[in-house]
């Protein structure tokens, strides 16, 4: 099932749902025909769309709003925080082409701060599916909840068949003694392959698909920290405020754990734009580069 099929199916069953977009129709091409008046395109007006979504939610609707992730989370930020956040309204934010998925667009379109700022809003939930299969397993629970939520939309096809989604829980793919890879979103596939490369070197490698960054599965992180020599956080996000920060926060709350943590993230700069494969190569996020960076970290067998 695709994102759009799930969206339309859900909306047809639930009259409360209004599908909105700030003229980003990549994910909702068929929605106008199928949903009629419950499809609203406000034009290139992110803040107005979010404000209107808040108004609709006040009247009992569940607006599912679409825009490119950077413009949704940053152009409309104060409307999200003030209208949706303070109001604690069930507005569901679908951010398109987050992280590396903006490939050749350049820094204006790079949403690599979104996890940090969205999880900073009290009551806002943050979901980061690994691929399309994961996406359609996560969304029904997100849309059924009464909480505001931000979803880093990732509809790339993956090779892995995911487990059913349990709210608040990560998906533990494997446990490993030497190293555990903690990953979310689009980089899951490359982390999965990197796991295989590291195992060929004789390492015991764990892998966790985080799925939900807020609420975060603290138990999964704590368990990996106590069972593995090294944790690696892998994310197409700035190091500030993303998964590395989340893991640091969790470990500070669990002082009994003393894990080494290697962050693979973007550090204090936007990434070099280009075709996706070349971006991953340049920035060091192909499976081979991920495995190599872990091996070269000097943290692997640190005792």
């Amino acid at each position: 099932m695709t994102y759009e099929e799930l969206l339309i199916q859900t909306a047809l069953k639930d009259e409360r749902i209004i599908v909105m977009t700030a003229e980003n129709r990549a994910l909702v091409r068929n929605a106008p025909r199928q949903l009629g008046n419950r499809f609203i395109d406000t034009g290139i007006t992110e803040q107005t769309m979010v404000g209107m979504a808040a108004g609709l939610a006040l009247r009992g609707r569940i607006p599912i709003v679409h825009a490119l992730a950077p413009f949704l989370t940053m152009r409309a930020f104060e409307f999200i925080r003030t209208d949706v956040g303070i109001g604690h309204l069930p507005v569901k934010l679908s951010g398109y082409i987050p992280g590396f998925l903006s490939d050749g667009n350049g820094p204006t379109h790079q949403s690599i701060e979104d996890v940090a700022i969205m999880r900073g809003i009290p009551g806002m939930e943050v979901y980061c599916p690994a691929d399309e299969d994961d996406l359609v397993r996560i969304l029904p629970a997100v849309w059924a909840s009464t909480a505001p939520a931000y979803v880093r939309i990732n509809h790339k096809k993956g090779s892995y068949e995911h487990a059913p989604f349990v709210p608040g829980k990560a998906e533990v793919i494997a446990r490993g003694k030497d190293v555990t890879l903690l990953v979310y979103g689009f980089l899951f596939e490359n982390a999965l392959q990197a796991k295989g490369l590291l195992e060929k070197e004789g390492l015991s490698v764990g892998l966790v698909n985080m799925r939900s960054l807020k609420p975060v599965d603290e138990d999964a992180i704590a368990e990996a920290a106590s069972g593995s020599g090294l944790l690696v956080t892998i994310e197409d996000h700035l190091r500030t405020g993303g998964l590395y920060s989340i893991v640091a926060e969790v470990l500070l709350r669990h002082r009994e754990l003393s894990a080494e943590v290697l962050p693979l993230a973007l550090e204090e700069r936007w990434f070099r734009p280009g075709v996706l494969g070349e971006v991953l190569e340049t920035e060091g996020f192909t499976a081979a580069k991920i495995a190599e960076r872990i091996k070269n970290s000097n943290l692997l067998y640190a005792e």
Binding site: E23, I44, T45, Q47, P70, N105, H109, V275, E278, E281
Partner: protein
């Protein structure tokens, strides 16, 4: 406008279109919105924007801000023709080795500011125009927006503020190609009567054919006449008005096979299709395009 000048500008515009078509191969570009503003870009850089060739950061230069940043191929194609950018570099499009991608980067000499998020550069240009006023300097400041971009409220806020500060050294040109990304503007968030809206916001408005160099010359006549550029220190409440040029254009201009087609916004073509489109541009057989339509970015 003399025939010689008109012929020269037309020949330049044709070469810029060739650059644009080539940049749509392998990975693609926003070809429709690039082709609509070729004459505008060529005219402004050839006849309006004064630059100090030796010093791109010369504070006395004129400024052109490209707010509808997705027409990079038109901008860089024009740069290549004006000698600001080595034409060979255009083939680095979408390589992480260079800085040439779908939106402008200031690392390319001549790009005044990055853009891509719509509705930003009218405000940035107003800031530059304000400083020019404060310093009494006579720089011309032009900002190009798309028409779909006028959805963004920040454009209209800027006009209110810029007129409050009398920024008659600021010209906002709208590339009125009638399209949002994949929908006609009038079918989504109607803009017309557009000139009346700008006038109601206190601006001086002209509406022209954006593919006609003679009309572009007339529209910018007052901008380029030195005595008309007021460079006084008085600003707030001076009564100066922002100039608006609504340039009516055709999205995809020059290629009948994609002109004004809603699904030809962002296109990635094969080498063979590019060769056919170059033929079509020169008036030969219309290209048979098989690449996917409606690649929505």
């Amino acid at each position: 406008m003399t025939n010689t000048l008109s012929d020269t500008l037309k020949a330049t515009a044709l070469r810029v279109r060739e650059h644009i078509i080539r940049m749509a191969e392998g990975g693609g570009c926003f070809i429709g919105a690039s082709l609509s503003c070729v004459e505008i870009m060529v005219y402004l850089y050839a006849q309006v924007i004064r630059r100090n060739g030796d010093d791109p950061q010369d504070p006395d230069r004129d400024y052109l801000f490209l707010s509808k940043g997705h027409d990079v191929p038109a901008l860089y194609g024009t740069f290549a023709e004006m000698g600001f950018l080595e034409p060979e570099r255009l083939s680095n499009h979408l390589s992480t080795r260079d800085h040439i991608y779908w939106h402008p980067n200031r690392k390319i000499p001549g790009v005044e500011f990055h853009s891509g998020s719509l509705g930003h550069l009218p405000a940035v240009a107003a800031g530059v125009a304000l400083d020019c006023k404060l310093r009494g300097s006579r720089n011309r400041v032009v900002v190009i927006t798309g028409d779909g971009e006028l959805n963004e409220g920040s454009v209209w806020e800027t006009l209110l503020v810029a007129n409050a500060y009398g920024l008659d050294n600021l010209t906002l040109l709208v590339d009125r190609n009638q399209f949002q990304a994949n929908i006609r503007t009038e079918e989504l968030v109607p803009l017309e009567p557009l000139a009346d809206k700008f006038r109601a916001f206190g601006c001086v408005v002209q509406r022209i054919d954006g593919h006609d160099f003679g009309q572009l010359e007339q529209a910018f006549d007052e901008v380029v006449r030195p005595q008309k550029i007021s460079g006084t220190g008085t600003i707030h409440g001076s009564g100066g008005k922002v100039r608006i040029v609504i340039a009516d254009t055709v999205r995809g201009k020059g290629l009948p096979s994609i002109e004004a087609k809603a699904d030809r916004w962002f296109c990635s073509f094969t080498a063979n299709e590019v060769a056919q489109l170059l033929e079509e541009l020169h008036g030969n057989k219309e290209a048979a395009i098989e690449s996917e339509t409606l690649v929505v970015r």
